[in-house]
Amino acid sequence: MILAKVLGNVVSSVKHPSLNSYAVFSVQPVDEHGRAHGDTFLAVDHAQSGPGDTVVILREGNGIRQILGDSKSPIRCLIVGVVDHVEPAV
């Protein structure tokens, strides 16, 4: 799981049925200090997050299929939590 910041919506009308009723966001991975780290990618929202939120992203397909209860879901990155606070040790 990684931390990322939600940048914005990605709107599609033609899509795989498993993506119906889920929001897709473009996200920027961040480190524990909130600094950008690595390339942006796409994630499906399962935590009612929105642009500007720092979120926890699960990137393991089998876990995602269990959470969604959809054994044929092609989703690879799922937003599973919204971060309130990070306290780095250093």
Binding site: I2, K5, L7, G8, N9, V10, V11, S12, S13, V14, K15, H16, S18, L19, V24, S26, Q28, P29, D31, E32, H33, G34, R35, A36, H37, G38, D39, T40, F41, L42, A43, V44, P51, G52, D53, T54, R59, G61, K72, S73, P74, I75, R76, C77, V83, D84, H85, V86
Partner: protein
């Protein structure tokens, strides 16, 4: 038997020593490699692939060349060949999923596919990235 095990256990030690960066070289910064690989990303369709000899489960599945792009459309990394289930065409901005989940998007999920187009993107709402803790 025990001697064999000991020998096997000793193998990784010189490998680990070889992999360690030489002293004086800057160590990897914390969090390096956070996002490898991307897994789901935006891409632009740059061409079609025609293959006459394909695995059985891929009959009738379109193959397209896609170039991963950023939110602003700038190319990023190398193009990949992706299976398509959305009838996307050249020039379309698409949502690509990778690894095992790519095959799950296809009618037959037991096919040798590691990238698939699962949506055609209409538009991307982009907000500027603001650094800082939540």
């Amino acid at each position: 038997m025990r001697a064999d095990r000991k020998e096997k256990a000793e193998i990784p030690v010189p490998l680990a020593a070889a992999a360690a960066p030489p002293t004086g070289e800057p160590a990897l910064e914390p969090g390096a490699g956070l996002c490898q690989p991307a897994a789901m990303f935006l891409a632009r369709v740059i061409g079609t692939v025609v293959a006459t000899k394909k695995p059985e489960g891929l009959t009738g599945i379109r193959l397209l060349m896609v170039q991963p792009v950023g939110e602003d459309g700038t190319p990023r990394g190398k193009p990949v060949c992706a299976a398509d289930v959305t009838q996307a065409g050249p020039g379309d901005l698409v949502h690509v999923t990778e690894s095992r989940e790519a095959a799950l998007a296809l009618p037959d999920p037991f096919v040798p596919v590691d990238a698939a187009i699962i949506a055609i993107v209409d538009h991307v709402h982009q907000e500027p990235f603001e650094e800082g803790r939540p």
